[in-house]
């Protein structure tokens, strides 16, 4: 690739990175230029490339920075048959996510994890430090209920509260989640339409037969924690076999979601907390301020050191280091990587490693010059000869990053990811960017 082309690419990447790095609210522009008055609030737009890639381009702060609660829940699967366990875990994940969403936690994390024979859920609630409230929200078993509709005249008699909550479905039935064996998404054998299949246990089969016999032609509401699971389906005929199919123009995604919600009431698996961490927001803010200061100081020291040690070469390395910082931050926002304290440390450590490639190259250049090559040839030889060392040594760091990612959860993973991104970007900036700068400026001078 020609040098001019590379300069263009580097320039475009840097501009794009600066754009991504900007905070969403820029300072207000307010000035007067001759007769032109400017008074505008500038905002950086979010990134939207269709469904698959939408980013608000905000830095995601981990719990140790933003404050909040981390919970690891152990799921008691003793009453659930081994075949249904992963479904029960998914159902539990669904129900907890739903509750947390209703509670209004921003960007909650609800992950499933299987450790040996243990089924676990990891819940991260940013900003929530009232533990009892959070545990109450998560710990209770989901209540699946079925309700029948009543006439308008009867519906008018109930309290406003109840009317608001249940609408026309004012009659409670004795059928609950305990009577449902399992719900599965499937397809109608004749039409191929996505459906949800319900299987009741023997007690549930009887209750369901009674209810459907009473309600032919009428809708039945299915609620989870008093929230409707779907539009109330209408009973076509009495169902006595315990096997029920619900159809209604669903998509496959919808039937999967409905089945998961129904299962969370049907497969009641109690949870208990095996790990819990709550960090106040003040502690987090102090940590950010201190780490950013440390990062800025570290960056400055490295920049000055490179300049002192390598003179003009160091200047190019510093320029590459600035581009490096801009690119890494942009990637943090784009991927997005949740930033933790350990992650910031990983980033600061990667600054040191980022200049390592430059140091390797510059030291090699010095040697080549000493061996009598001219400056331009020494530059090229420096890059070419140093490359195997740079490649092999960084590969070993990436291997440890992969193992770290496997080893850890939360903060450790954040550290591994930031370090890995740092190493990869540093390969680009220390080699390609620095070489392009050097070729451009050095060849202009000596020819």
């Amino acid at each position: 690739m020609s040098n001019r082309f590379l300069i263009g690419i580097i320039f475009l990447l840097t501009v794009a990175a600066v754009f991504v790095d900007l905070p969403s609210h820029l300072p207000r522009l307010n000035f007067q230029l001759g007769s032109i008055k400017v008074d505008r609030q500038l905002e950086r737009p979010a990134l939207n490339l269709g469904n698959a890639f939408v980013r608000d381009l905000e830095i995601k702060e981990g719990l140790d920075l933003a404050g909040g609660t981390h919970l690891t829940l152990q799921v008691d699967m003793s009453k659930i048959s081994p075949a249904d366990r992963s479904q029960a875990l998914e159902a539990l994940q669904g129900i907890i996510r739903r509750r947390v969403d209703l509670y209004g936690v921003s960007e909650p994390v609800v992950q499933t994890a299987k450790v040996g024979q243990d089924y676990r859920l990891i819940v991260e609630l940013a900003g929530v430090t009232n533990l009892n409230e959070a545990i109450g929200l998560i710990g209770k078993t989901a209540q699946l209920t079925f309700r029948e509709s009543v006439d308008a005249s009867e519906a008018a008699k109930v309290s406003t509260e109840s009317a608001l909550l249940y609408g026309p479905f004012q009659k409670e039935t004795n059928l609950t989640g305990k009577d449902l064996k399992i719900a599965k998404p499937g397809f109608d054998q004749n039409t191929g339409e996505p459906i949800v299949e319900l299987t009741f246990n023997s007690e549930g089969t009887e209750k369901w037969a009674d209810i459907t016999t009473r309600n032919v032609g009428k809708p039945i509401a299915i609620l989870l924690d008093d929230q409707p699971v779907m539009n109330p389906p209408t009973v076509r005929e009495p169902i006595t076999g315990g096997q029920t199919v619900i159809s209604g123009g669903f998509t496959t995604a919808q039937t999967k979601e409905i089945a998961t919600l129904l299962n969370s009431g049907a497969l009641p698996a109690p949870v208990h907390i095996v790990e819990q961490r709550t960090i106040g927001a003040t502690l987090g803010q102090q940590s950010i301020d201190k780490s950013l200061l440390a990062g800025a100081i570290g960056l400055t020291i490295v920049a000055v050191f490179m300049l002192a040690n390598y003179g003009k070469l160091g200047l190019f390395a510093d320029l590459a280091l600035i581009i490096y910082t801009l690119l890494v931050f942009a990637l943090f926002k784009l991927i997005p990587i949740t930033l933790t304290l350990a992650g910031i440390a990983g980033f600061i450590l990667s600054i040191g490693m980022a200049v390592d490639a430059n140091i390797l190259i510059f030291e090699r250049m010095k040697e080549e010059l000493r061996w009598g090559r001219n400056r331009l040839a020494a530059i090229e030889a420096g890059f070419n000869r140093a490359f195997p060392s740079i490649r092999d040594s960084n590969a070993s760091t990436l291997i440890t990053c992969a193992i770290l990612y496997w080893f850890g959860t939360g903060p450790v993973r954040g550290f591994a990811l930031t370090l890995a991104v740092g190493v990869l970007v540093s390969l680009f900036t220390a080699i390609t960017v620095t070489r392009t700068f050097l070729r451009t400026f050095e060849s202009n001078k000596s020819n």
Binding site: Q276, L349, D356, S389, S393, I399, A416
Partner: protein, 296 residues
């Protein structure tokens, strides 16, 4: 030319001077595992009324009055105190905090962590597994990366020498943290394991740079110089780079130790010690070891 190899036994002795006290401390006192490994509760309290030892004793009594054993109390250096206790539930904690506030109003909990015993045990197993896995992966990787080392030198010797240097660094850091744990109650947690693995990566990073030069010089000077001379020359050639890189990394880490947050301070100290040891072992242990081995 300066002959580094002449002093190889001195270099090994210096390493042992650091490692042996560490091993003795490990044998006598072990490490101080945090609740990450043992399970239990960590409570960080802050408040205007928290000033002197009597206040802290009051809190300790209040906690123990609630039938909860207090394992240790530690000031953090930024005006807050860390209490380690047996695992307690959030409602127990709320009750204890309310009791404390009766005597010392305005006391707040800014961190509250509880780890169950099973989770702690898993972390221990995983930590050992990942250090072992990292070592094996690195031997394999180096043996692969150095497969073109000219005969009769074996790529496996390069890999194993690198891992010996790496274990040296792990021992140095673990030993020093055992001593720190005994003297200053420094605990090792999940982040410490993270630091260890990062040190492993960095140590090998350094060793590879040195070995890479040995490989290049073996091809260049094969037949003209003996192995020891080639290694010596390679070390001298890469010395500038090794020192410069380590200094930049150590500078940035020092900035973090001095100005960074208190909660990751010991993590960064572990990295600092490890990076220092990693550079030392790459130059003064891994390469001399190769020479010793080839001589036999």
């Amino acid at each position: 030319m300066f002959n580094i190899m002449r002093f190889k036994y001195l270099f090994f002795a210096i390493s042992l001077l650091v490692i042996i006290p560490g091993i003795i401390s490990l044998a006598l006192f072990g490490l101080r595992p945090s609740i990450d490994f043992t399970g239990g509760t960590l409570l960080e309290l802050q408040g205007p009324a928290l000033k002197n030892q009597t206040d802290i004793e009051k809190i300790k009594e209040t906690i123990q009055h609630g039938q909860v054993e207090v394992a240790s109390i530690q000031p953090t250096g930024s005006g807050t105190y860390l209490f380690r206790t047996k695992a307690i539930t959030p409602s127990q904690k709320d009750k204890i905090l309310a009791d404390i506030n009766k005597q010392l109003p305005g006391t707040k909990d800014i961190r509250f962590e509880t780890v169950g015993p099973t989770v702690g045990k898993e972390l221990t197993i995983k930590a050992v597994q990942s250090v072992a896995l990292a070592s094996v992966a690195i031997v394999l990787y180096i043996a692969y990366a150095f497969r073109q080392v000219p005969k009769p030198y074996s790529p496996w010797k390069f890999g194993i020498a690198a891992v010996v240097a790496l274990l040296h660094d792990v021992l140095v850091v673990v030993g020093i943290f055992s001593i720190l744990g005994h003297l200053f109650a420094v605990e090792i947690d999940a982040l410490f394991v993270t630091a260890l693995l990062t040190i492993i990566g960095f140590s090998v990073h350094d060793t590879i740079v040195v070995f890479d030069r040995i490989r290049e010089n073996l091809q260049k000077y094969s037949g003209k110089q003996n192995f020891e001379q080639i290694v010596n020359e390679s070390l001298l050639e890469t010395l500038g780079r090794s020192l410069t890189t380590s200094l930049t990394v150590l500078f940035t880490l020092l900035a973090l130790i001095l100005f960074g947050g208190q909660s990751i301070r010991w993590f960064v100290v572990a990295l600092f010690v490890g990076v220092f040891s990693g550079t030392y072992s790459s130059i003064f242990n891994a390469a001399p070891l190769l020479v010793l081995w080839e001589k036999k």
